[in-house]
Amino acid sequence: MARRRNAGDHADVELPITPMLDMAFQLLVFFIFTYHPSSMEMHIDGNLLPPQKPIVQGKEPSKSNEPAPSLKEKPPDTSEDMVVIVEAMTDKDLAGKDKKEREKLVGTPRRILIQKPDAAKPDLVCDRTDDLEQGKEKLAKQLQQILISNPNASETAIDIKSDGDLKHEYFISVYDICRTRYGVQNKGGKEVLTRIDGNHKEKDFAKVLGFQKVGFVAPEGLADDKNPAQ
């Protein structure tokens, strides 16, 4: 092993850094492009009904304590459950609008109603005179009021009865509002509700309000392949 030695200098061994750096950058770019922060994804849990053994909602013997919505095969018993009805904009409602606007609006909520367990007729929560955010706000307010006014309201099951044409996005946001939990704080003799999200923990509050059981109702006109009539 002959060492090259410059006259009068120390040994000058240098790694070829530049090609290594090139490779490192290539690798870096590859991993940046394949990066997928899966932890950003969360889920909504649910159970399907076991065959011939319909289980009462929320009393599923599941290991986690998380109550789960279940698909209901029979129409909800309106004498017990509260029904949130979401109607969707269809092409018919949007006749006369130009194509671009129609594409934007079809599948958005047209009206949201709440059918309370003992009421004869559903109450209108919002319609198209409100924009989407206002409508959601109104629904949240209504549900809050129900929670405050009735101490047992958290036990009431909610069924979301939605038009089949409603976009998944809006359905999830309605579900989200129904499942929102509120912490109760006493501020100056008045009860103040705080929405529990990532910044708060349930155990920080003495009392927590929120609907535990939220189920989905089959949309009307769902194709049934087992039924030869359709």
Partner: protein, 159 residues
């Protein structure tokens, strides 16, 4: 690491070693966080809806079937076409696909020695936010017919 000025004029070379260190650190980070298994289950083109009441992922479930639904109500599965929830043929195809998957999952669970894993299989529905509610419901009821008992709807948490 004091690098004295190199003797003799224009041969000023930038010191690349710290840069290389940083780059290698970054590579390590991305290598560790990358998840290749999920890449064929998670379809990037699907835009999930946003919900705040959703709960974090549960890692204890062994057998998970990912179902990606695009904005037209069709299932996106590699190697399969026309898995459309809106047509009768599509639904029949989805049903046979689901039962095949369930059968495989059950066989794998039966083979595993861990008794606790039994019955721990679920479907994860990643539906595009522009899909319709009836498509999602249809898919869930097809899963029900196939024999799945647990489902999850994937959503995006608001960061």
């Amino acid at each position: 690491m004091s690098h004295g000025p190199s003797t003799g004029g224009p041969k000023a070379e930038p010191n690349l070693v710290p840069l290389l260190d940083v780059v290698l650190q970054l590579i390590m980070f991305f290598m560790l966080t990358v998840n290749f298994v999920q890449n064929d289950q998670v379809n990037e083109s699907i835009k999930l809806p946003v919900a705040q009441s959703a709960v974090p992922l549960d890692k204890t479930v062994k057998e998970v079937l990912f179902l990606n639904m695009n904005h037209e109500g069709q299932l996106v599965v590699a190697g399969e076409t026309n898995l459309d929830t809106r047509s009768k043929e599509g639904r029949a195809k989805i049903k046979s696909y689901l039962s095949r998957q369930l059968e495989q999952a059950q066989r794998r669970l039966a083979a595993s020695k861990n008794k606790e894993d039994e019955g721990k299989f679920l479907v994860v529905v990643r539906a595009d936010k522009r899909a319709m509610y009836k498509d999602v419901y249809q898919l869930l009821s097809l899963c029900d017919d196939a024999g799945y008992r647990k489902w999850q709807l994937r959503v995006q948490s608001q960061a």
